[in-house]
């Protein structure tokens, strides 16, 4: 190597070593007794408004009101679990940590001294509770209380709670316009003694299903629906009538619930006692598979269903349904109506997606085991490193979010008075984010550039007269006139501890109200939420999880075989059941029963 190049390389190496050293020094920071770090994983697109959460005005208000300094660490998707593991090994881990990516037992964390058992602060033996709002809310809502309490009736962690079940973001839907297009006199049926001839229907609103409902209700309605949609498939307008999730059933119980059971564990109440049952070996499950097989043989079901393992259950074969080529499927509410038709520029179709009821066998029963969100969202633990600081302030700040004021704060941002207060105190960088309004709406509000700051437009404030939170502006935008309650997403910060006001949460469109009613016709009382197995001890939890994974793995391989006919429902059913027992379905049943007995 020439002398010159060698020297250059040496200099380059030295320079490269210096830069990181300087950068490293700059990155060092201290933590005072009032500064708390929160490790939390992002939960939705709402967070993308703020790359740095300390700029969110809600956080700034909390800092101001409780005289603390909240910092955030957000793990990268893909390495949350690993990050959680390494952070909890040290003594300097973040003060508040999200347990979404921790699947072990909370008692382990308390035992090892990582998590602080908050029960003594929430429900102290003597003295004042440091979490009055939280304790008060739990006492008011015993259902939620039992959902989050541990087996020995303790409350070691904080939960993020919704004050009501949120509006469903999805459900079964079908193409009503195609039902209208392909109706024929061959589909006639008798209803209440009178004959109904589909050929006489004049518009979509005339459509009535054989059970009498306006949307598919009974399994027999679905049979009828697929019969009609099959003509659309034959005509080339659809790829197939319906899709099912790759294991052949949905673990949450949808559709299987029509037979009154679920393919896995579910609960019923008998004589006032909660009884856990397992449906994978029952005759009803066999009937379910028979029905699906019947549909599969008739060609109603996507032939490739078992290979779509990378798709979500609400988005099976997106290439097909986004072009409106799936007749009936479990989808998200943003596909309702004719939104699909307007998605692309050159798509010129008349698509009308409408909600369908969760199917049931007959009118005298209701499905009880199907997917539904629960009221509890996120589990946060306070770590022992917080106890070396002024933890009372932290507790006060977190507890504030469970009160009326706090939950409105996180939902809507600051009101007028608070904004003025903070501005006087010298806070300036509130409004860096863009607003979720269109050009026209902004123009109406008197803003000429689309990236104008919120400070010129205003925020929500509590209107004393109506008692509702309204968009604070001197000009009423079109949205407000139509009665929509929209929130500027930059302002809200739900996801940290607290109670979220569900009524205002969903940016619901009045068009969908009717559909939501169909989707919320039943209550998922049979569901066993994921938080229940987490209450087991560490050993039991490990065993439960191994059995669970092994069993679902097996079912995902076997049930499609029954549906496709590679295995026979008559001769192979017995060994199918035996394998399930060997993989531990009854052991897990015992664990779950034990949990419910302890909580009773």
């Amino acid at each position: 190597m020439k002398k010159i190049t060698r020297k250059t390389v040496a200099l380059a190496v030295a320079a490269c070593m210096m830069v990181p050293a300087c950068a490293g020094l700059a990155a060092c920071g201290g933590g005072s007794a009032d500064s708390f770090t929160i490790w939390i994983s992002p939960n939705s697109a709402l967070w993308e408004e703020y790359q740095d959460l300390t700029l969110n005005p809600v956080i700034q208000y909390l800092d101001y009101k409780f005289d603390i300094d909240l910092q955030f660490q957000i793990p990268i998707s893909g390495s949350e679990k690993e990050q959680f593991t390494v952070l909890t090994t040290g003594t300097d881990c973040p003060d508040v940590m999200d347990l979404s990516y921790y699947s072990g037992s909370v008692t382990d964390l308390v035992e090892d001294g990582v998590a602080v058992d908050l029960t003594e602060y929430i429900y102290p033996e003597s003295g004042e509770s440091l979490f009055p709002n939280y304790a008060g809310y739990l006492d008011k809502t015993p259902d939620v209380k039992s959902l989050i309490s541990s087996l020995d009736h303790k409350f070691p962690t904080l939960y993020t709670i919704d004050d009501a079940l949120r509006a469903p973001w999805g459900g079964y839907m079908y193409r009503k316009d195609l039902v209208f297009k392909y109706k024929s006199a061959d589909d006639k049926f008798t209803l209440d003694g009178k004959e109904v001839n589909p050929a006489t229907w004049q518009s979509e609103e005339d459509i009535v299903f054989p059970s009498g409902a306006k949307a598919p209700d009974l399994i027999s309605d679905y049979d009828w629906l697929f019969q009609v949609l099959q003509r659309a498939v034959d005509a080339g307008e659809l790829d197939y009538c319906t899709s099912i999730f790759y294991p052949g059933y949905l673990e949450t119980g949808d559709i299987v619930s029509a037979w009154g059971i679920s393919a896995s564990w579910y609960k019923t109440v008998e004589n006032g006692k909660t009884v856990v049952k397992y449906g994978g070996m029952s005759d009803e499950f066999k009937e379910y598979i028979k029905k699906i097989k019947e549909w599969y043989d008739k060609g109603y079901i996507d032939k490739d269903f078992s290979s779509r393992t990378n798709d979500m259950f609400f988005a099976i074969n997106s290439e097909s349904y986004t072009r409106g080529r799936t007749g009936c499927f479990y989808g998200t509410d943003n596909l309702l109506g004719n939104l699909l038709a307007t998605a692309g520029d050159d798509v010129d179709q008349n698509i009308d997606m409408r909600a369908a009821y969760m199917p049931r066998l007959s009118k005298d029963m209701e499905p009880t085991v199907f997917y539904a969100a629960t009221q509890i969202n996120r589990n946060l633990m306070v770590t022992s490193s917080a106890m070396n600081k002024n933890y009372e302030k932290l507790f006060a700040a977190l507890d504030y979010l469970y009160g009326e004021e706090g939950s409105l704060l996180t939902r809507f941002g600051l009101n007028k008075e608070q904004y003025a207060e903070l501005k006087d105190a010298g806070v300036t960088n509130f409004w860096d984010a863009e607003v979720n309004l269109t050009q026209d709406e902004l123009a109406l509000a008197g803003v000429t550039e689309s990236t104008q700051k919120l400070s010129d437009i205003g925020v929500y404030h509590l209107d004393e007269a109506s008692g509702k939170y309204v968009y604070w502006s001197d000009i009423e935008t079109d949205y407000v006139k139509q009665g929509y309650e929209m929130c500027a997403s930059a302002m809200c910060f739900w996801g940290l501890a607290g109670v979220s006001k569900m009524k205002y949460m969903h940016m619901s469109d009045a068009r969908y109200e009717a559909q939501y009613e169909i989707w919320t016709a039943y209550e998922p009382t049979g569901n066993i939420d994921m938080s229940y197995p987490a209450k087991l001890t560490s050993e039991e939890n490990s065993d439960y999880v191994i059995n669970y994974n092994s069993l679902t793995d097996y079912m995902a391989t076997e049930v499609p075989k029954f549906i496709k006919g590679t295995k026979s429902l008559d001769s192979d059913w017995k060994s199918f059941c035996n394998s399930q027992i060997m993989k531990g379905c009854n052991k897990n049943l015992a664990y779950l029963q034990k949990i419910f007995d302890a909580l009773a």
């Binding site: 593991t85 037992s105 382990d108 793995d553 391989t557």
Partner: protein
Amino acid sequence: MEEKVLAGERTESIPPKEKKPKKENKFIKDFKQNWRLHIIILPVLAFFIIFSYFPMIGIITAFLDYRPTRGIFKSEWVGFKYFGQIFSDAQFALVFRNTCVMACLNLFFGLVIPVIFALLLSEVKIKWLNRPIQICSYLPNFVAAVVVCNIVINFLATNGVVTNIFVAFGAERENILSDPKYFWGINTVVNLWQGMGYAAIVFTAAIQNVNQDLHEAAVLDGANRWQRMWHITLPGILPMIVTMLVLKTGLMFSTGFDNILLLYMPSTYETADVISTYTYRMSLGGGNQYGFSAAVGLFQSVISTVLLVLSNWLSGKLAKTSLF
């Protein structure tokens, strides 16, 4: 008598010394005499000791009821409990078989095909053709596995391009990816697609490093292309081939399985499931799997080491060059 190993020497041309009674003295004497050489390795050793050997203490968690929050010292000793769990699992034999088969396929084709490709490429001496072809060949290595696998899924779908070709040759029309009997072939081809060009780079460099004088001399002696390739080029790159072979044998159980996670599905589990994907699925959502996964890792490491030593010894015997 020159006992020092000079920079220029590599063979044992040290004349015989007098026999010393203790064995250590031989090593210490060697160190004292060649200390200038031995200093060179010190930074490397320090690096490996700090960043590889200190953490290796963590292997002991395979025998403990370990929780990271509890630490190693407070965790109970459970001996071979996890290993017992591994071997008693009914699926294990199947999973292990799949792992071995696919590892062997990856190893064999992952070595033979790049070498052939490098040889073919080096025959094309036209620079403006050679360079772009080589660049194109290693491009797939940089495209994320997800993208490549999406393309593969699309090609092998019921109406996919490759499926159509198969049907033209008389196979029945189905989603090829859902058929267990094709999976081994698919996985090998996808790994080759991604890795061949990149692996061939080493061999291309080695081929170009072969002494041109030898080629000239061979042509003067009347050797043709094939004879030159067989007698000069191949022996010239044989050390590199052996190096890569031995190294890859050591790694064959730990690499080449990333694509499987993206391409497999329940209907192909019987041939596609490997140790890493099986343990991943079984520990999904599980809490304390640390000891268990450490045990699985240790099991794989031990097997890999045995294979490494074996292949090194074999190549020493058969090809007269070995790695160590």
